[in-house]
Symmetry: C2
Subunit: 205 residues, 2 copies
């Protein structure tokens, strides 16, 4: 039990250390850092946190985080609304946007099916995805789940739910990472990349 | 450049990532974590940060962080006011308090002399330390600086300033850590521990 000599400091350390990956020692370092900074800096942080949770909204259509009813991606007339990419959370939207390889729209599940963590299909934005297949003109759904057991389970569940509702359902490819030597790829990935090989003429650069 | 789809989220990520040791990726993880939590949790964090910087005070006597004019250590009648331990910052006060080996009082310099970082004696609470030697009945000053070049420089500067003003000036001992085998101690530490050897009868458990 530490003696913080200040209730205010102790409170700040307690709250910081509730954040994931921040222990009490790091929390103290952060609090002392704020005390050394100009007051405007910690005001900015404190207020940004209060505004974030108090005012944040989610896109009515794709559940992406948004400041408006429709997120900037759904509202963009240049996006192709017939191709829909299903992802686990908003970080995946950002990762895919950073590739500049996808011009369609998204659907954010808000998680992934994980019985170990007690997360089932009903905890995710799957019902609204089904509704979208019925109300929008979607030609293809790309499932961009992580390459994990939970990702596979979610892919399988989504495929069963979506089959017949849209002309095409695909999943992102998995295999040896670009730039990697085969000898450094783990054997499961390498094995899968052989099983799921792609006709050379279909291979895109 | 990331597209955060929400200005509120981007602001929170910007502010988190200004903290030491938190990059943009961790900052995003923290912000998304807060969004998944109950609103009361992020309110508690935001308000703790605002209150910390807005209301924190420093002990009038020892510069320890405090909610009152005198910190809980200076105000404690059971502490020995004749032995004063000089430390770099409040974390060192906590570390020494955790040992339960010191019953005197402290003086927090608020930093350490470091020409590389542009920190000189005038940036530290040294003048008020001199004043304490003149107004309080101090029998011994223990300098508890880190075992670094900056710590050595600060020790030397303090010693020159304090010499003759108090009956005794000491520095905490440096050497092989308790429980360590000699073969694993670095050679500089081991060398110093031989040069600074202590008469066996003076060695305390």
């Amino acid at each position: 039990m530490q003696n913080y000599s200040s209730r205010l400091l102790e409170e700040a350390v307690n709250e910081f250390s509730r954040l994931p990956g921040i222990g009490r020692r790091s929390a103290l370092r952060l609090a002392l850092h704020l005390l050394r900074q100009d007051e405007s800096r910690s005001d900015a942080l404190g207020n940004a946190i209060l505004r974030l949770r108090g005012n944040i909204r989610y896109c009515n259509r794709c559940h992406n985080i948004s400041d408006e009813e429709l997120c900037s991606l759904c509202a963009d007339p240049k996006r192709d609304n017939t191709i829909l990419c299903v992802v686990e959370d908003i970080r995946d939207v950002m990762a895919i946007e950073n590739t500049s390889q996808f011009r369609g729209v998204y659907h954010v599940l808000g998680g992934i099916i994980s019985p170990m963590d007690g997360i089932g299909p009903n905890d995710l934005n799957i019902e609204s995805l089904i509704v979208r297949t019925e109300t929008e003109d979607i030609q293809e759904i790309i499932m961009a789940m992580p390459a994990t057991t939970e990702g596979d389970t979610t892919n399988y569940y989504l495929y069963k739910k979506l089959k017949g509702k849209v002309p095409a359902i695909s999943a992102i490819s998995r295999g040896v990472a670009i730039g990697d030597e085969l000898e450094f790829a783990d054997e499961i990935t390498l094995g899968k990349s052989i099983l799921n090989r792609i006709p050379y003429e279909k291979l895109s650069d």
